[in-house]
């Protein structure tokens, strides 16, 4: 469909249109030195001229004099927490005076949510989370309720960080699909393209002028430059064979010496889905909440089974994470579990770089 042009001041009109349509709006904001996603009512809340300098174990924001809102790559989280909640009650058990137990559903109705500023890598990760939570044997009703009500305003990435490698995984920097509206940022406004009927209905209310050839070229050029500026890459989009052929590679031991097994990488990874379940019993004993919360394969408890911890050291845990993410995912989801966002590199306290580790393990002599 035709691409429209929205002047910068029109961004508030887009927000107002979404709010009027009943959406709660979430967007990126600069807080505590990072880009975070939170409730957004005013365009002024968006970052302005913010650049993120990311490197292994490092994330710093610099404010430039650019008037643009999206001159950064990403923050520690984007869409994942809004669909796969970090913590939520799956059901509640109530014990009555006669000691019978009653199980109560806790699934609430979800309200429509619009997220502004999703990146191409976030959309690719969302597609994988959809596959996991919705398309398996048992769809998750909590995820489904929120997913059904999600409206996505993507923004093509023109300023990737040094840690980004979405071009190598094939997931960015242009948002190709999976959005309701996609924006391409220019110095004086946005190119607007709708990707769904819901998106088209919102765009229709914005009274956009048509984008000019020059504007289209400018956005295209910036996305192309964004892809070219990326220096990191994975050795291949399918490392399944290479990883499982190298389960005894000495590199696993070397990376385990650096890895703190803290689980930061899995927390910031937009595709990691592991969660635990536990009970929060009321002090009076009258009820107990069955809670699910994010878990990580880097914890001691993740592989615990009747007295035995299957992955009892960091070596086995790092190998588990990487061989699943870049290996077994191909069997389970038809592609790698990595979308090239680079978050695990920047937010790793010791700066372990997934591209470097995968490169070292998959290249050269086999160690099976």
């Amino acid at each position: 469909m035709e691409t429209g042009f929205l002047p910068r001041a029109g961004l508030q009109t887009l927000l107002d249109t979404l709010l009027d349509a009943g959406y709660r709006c979430i967007g990126p904001q600069l807080r505590d030195g990072a880009i975070v996603y939170d409730a957004l009512a005013h365009a002024e809340q968006l970052p302005r001229g913010a650049r993120d300098h990311q490197a292994p174990g490092s994330y710093r924001i610099e404010t430039t004099d650019s008037s643009r809102h999206f001159t950064w790559a990403n923050g520690p989280q984007a869409l994942k927490p809004f669909l796969f909640a970090p913590r939520e009650t799956l059901w509640r058990a109530e014990r009555r005076d006669d000691h019978t137990i009653h199980f109560v559903e806790t699934l609430n109705t979800s309200t429509p949510l619009a997220v502004i500023g999703a990146r191409a890598c976030d959309l690719a990760a969302l597609r994988l989370q959809d596959q996991h939570f919705l398309e398996g044997l048992n769809a998750d009703p909590f995820y489904r309720a929120r997913r059904k009500n999600l409206f996505i305003v993507a923004v093509h990435c023109s300023h990737p960080a040094d840690t980004c490698f979405c071009a190598s995984t094939g997931d960015g920097p242009r948002a190709e699909q999976g959005f309701d509206i996609a924006l391409g940022e220019l110095d004086d406004g946005y190119l607007v393209q709708s990707g769904s009927d819901h998106g088209a209905a919102i765009v229709a209310k914005l009274n956009l002028s048509s984008a000019t050839e020059a504007q289209l070229n400018q956005v295209g050029k910036e996305i192309e430059a964004a892809a070219k500026s990326q220096t990191r890459n994975l050795p291949s989009r399918n490392l399944r064979e290479a990883l499982f052929a190298n389960l005894s590679h000495p590199r696993w031991e070397q990376v385990a010496e650096r890895c703190l097994s803290c689980g930061n990488c899995t927390s910031v990874c937009p595709t990691c889905f592991c969660h635990s379940e536990r009970d929060d019993a009321a002090l009076g004993g009258e009820n107990s909440e069955h809670v699910r919360e994010w878990d990580s394969c880097f914890t001691q408890g993740h592989s615990y089974i009747h007295g035995v911890t299957l992955r009892d050291d960091t070596h086995k845990r790092y190998r588990q994470w990487l061989t699943h993410k870049l290996g077994s995912w191909h069997d389970q989801y038809g592609r790698s579990g990595c979308v090239g966002c680079g978050r695990c590199i920047a937010w790793c306290p010791v700066g372990i770089d997934i591209t470097e580790e995968a490169g070292a393990i998959c290249a050269g002599e086999r160690h099976d």
């Binding site: 014990r95 000691h99 044997l137 379940e277 009970d279 069997d331």
Partner: protein, 277 residues
């Protein structure tokens, strides 16, 4: 929609103490409609919820045609199972299930069958032995092989003696450490494979227990001509959700809770015996 993870209330009808640490809970759903609708296959498991404490996956040990009650044989080892051990007749708990794929009983018909189990993990195969005994004419020779560390670890002693007296049935039991009056072999269970009388080329094996033992058994059976697709193993992994979502039981290309817990050796082979998977 209803959450697929919402348990149903069940009542303990009987608590049977099998050994100092192993017990069987005989259960019934308190909702008669749910009880009437409940169906399972041998080798499948339920999630048992102890009020206020949490859930554990436990295989169903009773016969699928016993419609009055369903049984779980449990070893008290962790927080939840030690609490379940204290439940008595009339107490309530939560049950959801059944989950997973059970034993390949149709494929097993008209074949010799070999059951191998070790340690205390015998409950899933005891269900299948009882299943076969009750439908004896559908199956050919049955060899039951069990290895334990100590003679005390063999629960259901009299049942093994009873099975050994049945026609076309061979019972081979071994304890690593013997005691007085122990009627079976002292030593490793893998010493006994030469005594097994079945047609290995067409026979089907079902195993559960420690992976080391299952690997040792596979190393005996495959060279004797058993097919990898006829060798089935029940796997145990950490499980929180039992519906393929929580990620704890992921092993290679499978989630053990929904793709298993029973797998053919052919499916497990790529990572079998590799520590950490």
């Amino acid at each position: 929609m209803t959450s697929p993870q919402l348990p149903w209330e069940a009542e303990v009808v009987e608590h049977v103490q099998e050994s100092p640490t192993i017990f069987t809970l005989r259960l019934r759903f308190t909702d008669p409609e749910q009880h009437a609708a409940y169906r399972f296959a041998p080798g499948q498991f339920n999630m048992l919820y102890l009020y206020g404490v949490g859930e554990v996956p436990i295989s169903i040990v009773s016969d699928p045609e016993d419609v009055q009650l369903f049984d779980h044989t449990i070893r008290a080892v962790g927080r939840v199972t030690q609490g379940l051990a204290k439940l008595e007749a009339g107490d309530r708990l939560g049950i959801r299930g059944p989950y997973g794929k059970g034993w390949p009983l149709e494929l097993a018909e008209d074949r010799d069958i070999m059951i191998v189990t070790g340690g205390l993990g015998c409950a899933p195969v005891v269900s299948v032995i009882n299943y076969i005994m009750r439908r004896r004419d559908r199956f050919r020779r049955l060899v039951i092989m069990q290895g334990v560390k100590h003679t005390d670890d063999l629960i259901w002693h009299s049942q093994y003696e009873h099975w050994s007296e049945q026609p076309e049935t061979q019972v081979l039991v071994a304890a690593d450490q013997g005691t007085a009056l122990w009627p079976w072999h002292v030593g490793h269970v893998t010493d006994l494979f030469d005594q097994v009388k079945i047609d290995f080329g067409t026979a089907l094996a079902m195993m559960c227990g420690p992976e080391g033992l299952m690997k040792a058994a596979a190393d005996q059976l495959l060279p004797r001509g058993m097919k990898e697709e006829h060798l089935f193993l029940s796997m145990e992994r950490s499980m929180k959700c039992a519906v393929g979502l929580c990620g704890h039981c992921q092993r290679g290309s499978h989630f053990v809770c929904k793709d298993g817990p029973v797998f053919s050796f052919a499916d497990l082979k790529p990572l079998f015996g590799v520590r950490g998977f």
